[in-house]
Amino acid sequence: MTLVHNFPFFCILLCMAAGIFTSVLKPKAAKALTFVVAGTVLVLSALTLRLTLQLEEAYPFIMGHFPAPWGNEIRIGRLEALMATGFSAVLLISLLAGMWHTSNFVSEQKTNLYCIMIDLALAAVLVLIYTNDLFTVYVFIEIMTIASCALVVVRQNGHTLVATTRYMIMHLFGSGLLLLGIAMLYGITGHLLMVPLHEAVVNIVQTGEHMGPLTVVIALITAGLAIKSAMFPFHGWAPDTYAFAPPLSSAILSGIISKAYIFVLIKFFCRVIGLDVIISQQITPFLFVCGVSGMIIGSIMAISQRDIRRMIAYSSVAQIGYIYLGLGIGTKAGVEAALFQMLVHAAVKSVLFLSTYELVNVSGDHKHFRYLHGAGYRNVPAGIVFTIAAMSMVGIPFTGGFIVKLNLAISGIAIGGWVRALVLIALALSTLLNSVYFLHTVVSIYRRPAQELDYPKPEKTLPVVAVALFTSVLLIIYLGIGSEPILRVIETGLKTFS
C-alpha cells in the first residue's frame, strides 16, 4: 500500500480537521482555509483517479485495525474517484465565483460558521462517495443535512427561515425512513458492511426467507433517499430553498449535495442489493414514472415562474428527473447515463446559480424577468456564461447536456417496447419545454430595456469570478466534446463498483 492509496482517507480527514480548525480562526483566514481545502481535495482526488485508472480492481481501505465484517471501511474505485474529482472541482469553481459575495448575505461574525458548514459538507460528500458501510452512510447523511440547512439559513430573513423549516421537516421524514430501513436490514441480515450485506441479501433471495421484509427495506431506503434528493413528488422543499439561499449555498446544495444522496442510492442498488433484485422487486418502474413526471412537470412549473431563481430551482427538479429516468430504465447503460448526468448537472447548475446572481446584481437586485432586460450587456461575462449553461440545459450539441440526452435515448432504445416510446417522448417533450423557458430567459437578458431604468451602480465583477465562471464553461464544453474517456471510466468503474 503506497502513500497514494491513502489519499481518499487524507481528503476526508483534511475536510473534517479543517471544519474543526475553522472554529478558532479569524474570518479571513477561515475563507482562505476553505479555498485551500477545496483545492487540495481536488488535487488529491485527481491523483486517486489516476491511481485507480492503473488498478484493475477497486481496493478497500480499512478505517481502523479490523477488516471487513467487523470494522468500518471505505472502498476506492474508479467511479468513486471520478465523482470525488468532479464534485470537488465544481465546489472549487463555485467557491472561486461565489465566496466574494458572501459578505452580502453572511454577517462577519458568522463567516467562520459558514466556512465550517462548507468544509463539513464536503467531508460528508466524500464519505458518502467512498464509504462501504451502511451505518456510516446514515451518520454522514445527517451531517450533510444539518450542514445544508445551515448553509441556507445563514442568510437570515423570513423566507430562508420558512424554507429551512420545510427543508428540515422533509429531511426528517427522509432520515426516519432511512434509519428504519437500515435497522430492518440489519435485523434480517446481521451485517452493516456492504459486501457481507450483499452476500446475505443474495442468500435471502435464494432461500426466500425474510423476502417480504427485504422488499419493505428497499422501499423505505429508496423513499428516504428520494425525499432527500428532491425526486419529483417529494420536491416541495426544493424551489424555496434554492431560491432564497445565498447563491453560493444554492450552487453547493443543488450542484453537489443533492447528487451525493443519489450516489448513495445507486450504491445501495448496485452494491448492497444488486440491480437484478431491484428490477425484480418492481422498484425501477416507480423511479421511471417519477423521473418522467418530474422532467415534464418540473419544466412546466419552471415556465410559469416570474422569478429567475425560482425558475432555475424548478429546472433543477426537472434535471433530477433525468437522473431518476436513467435509474428507472434499469440497465447498466441507464445507470451510466444517470451517473454522467450527475456530473453534468453539478457543473451546469452551480454555474447557472452563480451567473444568475451576477445578472441580478447588475439589475438593481431585482429577480423578475422584466427588470433583467439588458443585463447581458451590463455584465458581459455573466451573460455569455449563462447563455452557454442554458444551452447545455436544453441539450445543444457540443455541451454536456446533449451527451446526457443522447445516452438516455440510446439506453431507452436498447430496451424496446413501451419504455422506448416513453423515453423518447419524455426526452423530446422535456427538451421542448426546457428550450421554451431558457430561450425566454436568454432573450430577456439580451433585450434592450424598453425605457432606461435607473439601476443603482453595481459592484464591479472581480476578474477571478469571471475566470472561474469561464472555467466552468470550459468544463461544460469538455463534458460535451471529450465525454468519451469519462463515459469509459464510468462504464469500467460501474463494473468494479458492485
Binding site: M1, N6, F9, L13, M16, A17, G19, I20, F21, S23, V24, F61, I62, M63, G64, H65, F66, P69, W70, G71, N72, S107, E108, Q109, K110, L113, Y114, I116, M117, L120, A123, V127, D133, F135, T136, V139, F140, E142, I143, I146, A147, C149, A150, V153, V154, L180, M184, Y186, G187, I188, T189, G190, H191, P196, A200, H210, G212, P213, V216
Partner: protein, 339 residues
C-alpha cells in the same frame, strides 16, 4: 353552571364538530387567545434604562401584534373560504390514510421479521461473536459496547461527534446575536438581555442552596461515568450529558454573571476545538496504522483496570467534553442568544 358548559364544550365530540365546521384554525385561535390573555409586567425593575428599554420593546410588540392581527384577520378571512377548508380536510384524511397504511405494511413486515429473543437471529453471527469473544483482548475494554463504538466502528463515532459539533454551529448561526464592529452590543442584544432578566434568579435561597450541594455531586457523577466508560455502562455521551445538566443547574441558580466567570463563548470554542482535534488526530493515527498494517504502539493495559483499553478512555473524555459544552451552549443560546 358555566363550568359545566365549558366542560361540555371541551368534550371530544363537540371539539370534533367544531373542527368539522370551522377547521383547525378555530381551535388554535382559542388556545392562542387563552395563552395571550394574561401578560404580566415585570416587577422590581431596578435599572431605569432597562425599564425604558422594556417599555419601548413592549410598545413595539403591541404595535407589531396589532398590525399582525390585522394582517391575520385579512388572511384568515381568505383562509376560511370553503375551498381551502376542503383542501385542508383532504390533506388530513390523506395524511391519516398514509400513516395507517404505513403502520399496516410495517406490521406485516414485523410479522415476518426474526423472532424476538431468538438465539439464532441473523444478528448473532460472526460479527457479534468476535465483538464478544475477542473484544476484551483486542480493545481492552470490559464494556463491549464501548469497545465496539470507539474501536471497531470508531469512524461512525467520529462522525457522531462531528454531528454534535455541526449542530452546535448551526444553532449558533441561528440564535447567536452578533455584536457591532467595535464590540458594543446591538439593540437586539440589549433587548434579549432585558428579556432574560425575567429568568435570572433573584437570590432564591432554596434553589441556590440545593444547587450548591447538587452541582459538585452531579459533576463528580458525570466524571465517574466518563472515566469508567470502558469498564461499566456509560461513556462520553452519557457522562457529558450529566455534566452539562450540572452546568445548566448552576447557571439557573446563579445566573449568567457567575457562570460567565468560568464558561464563556471562548471556553466553548477552545474546549470543543481541542477535544475534537484530539479525537480526530488520535483516530486518524489509528486508522492510518490500521490500514497500512503498522503497529500502533498503544498499550491496552490490564483489562478491568481504570488505565486500560488503549485510546478508549481519552476518547471518552474528549467526547464527554464536547457533549457537555454543546448541551450547555444549546441552553444558553435558547435562553438569550449568547453566553
Amino acid at each position: 353552571m358555566s363550568k359545566r358548559r365549558s366542560d361540555w364544550e371541551s368534550r371530544p365530540q363537540a371539539r370534533f364538530r367544531k373542527w368539522y365546521k370551522e377547521g383547525f384554525l378555530a381551535l388554535d385561535n382559542e388556545i392562542i387567545d387563552h395563552l395571550t390573555r394574561t401578560t404580566e409586567l415585570p416587577e422590581n425593575i431596578e435599572d431605569r434604562l432597562i425599564a425604558q428599554q422594556e417599555e419601548m420593546t413592549s410598545r413595539q410588540h403591541e404595535r407589531t401584534l396589532a398590525l399582525e392581527r390585522l394582517d391575520q384577520y385579512n388572511m384568515l378571512a381568505w383562509a376560511r373560504t370553503r375551498g381551502r377548508k376542503a383542501i385542508s380536510r383532504l390533506y388530513v384524511i390523506l395524511a391519516l390514510a398514509l400513516g395507517a397504511m404505513m403502520i399496516f405494511f410495517l406490521l406485516e413486515t414485523v410479522a415476518l421479521m426474526p423472532r424476538f429473543g431468538d438465539p439464532a437471529t441473523p444478528g448473532a453471527n460472526i460479527v457479534s461473536e468476535r465483538y464478544i469473544t475477542k473484544g476484551l483482548e483486542e480493545t481492552g475494554a470490559t464494556n463491549i459496547v464501548a469497545g465496539m463504538i470507539l474501536d471497531y466502528r470508531a469512524f461512525d463515532t467520529l462522525g457522531e461527534s462531528t454531528v454534535l459539533f455541526i449542530a452546535a454551529s448551526a444553532v449558533l448561526i441561528l440564535l447567536r446575536i452578533d455584536r457591532n464592529k467595535d464590540g458594543s452590543p446591538v439593540q437586539e442584544l440589549i433587548a434579549a438581555e432585558s428579556d432574560d432578566r425575567h429568568y435570572e434568579p433573584r437570590n432564591d435561597r432554596i434553589l441556590q442552596g440545593s444547587a450548591m450541594i447538587l452541582t459538585p455531586i452531579i459533576f463528580l457523577y458525570g466524571i465517574y461515568i466518563i472515566l469508567n466508560g470502558h469498564l461499566s455502562p456509560g461513556g462520553g455521551f452519557s457522562g457529558g450529558a450529566i455534566i452539562s445538566a450540572g452546568l445548566i443547574l448552576y447557571l439557573d441558580a446563579f445566573g449568567f454573571d457567575k457562570a460567565g466567570r468560568f464558561f464563556t463563548y471562548k471556553t466553548f470554542t477552545w474546549v470543543s476545538f481541542f477535544s475534537l482535534s484530539f479525537y480526530a488526530l488520535a483516530k486518524a493515527y489509528s486508522f492510518y496504522c490500521g490500514a497500512n498494517n503498522l503497529p500502533s504502539g498503544i498499550p491496552l493495559g490490564t483489562p478491568g483496570a481504570i488505565l486500560s483499553g488503549g485510546l478508549i478512555m481519552p476518547l471518552n473524555i474528549a467526547v464527554g467534553m464536547v457533549v457537555a459544552c454543546t448541551m450547555y451552549i444549546f441552553y444558553a443560546l435558547f435562553r438569550k442568544g449568547g453566553l
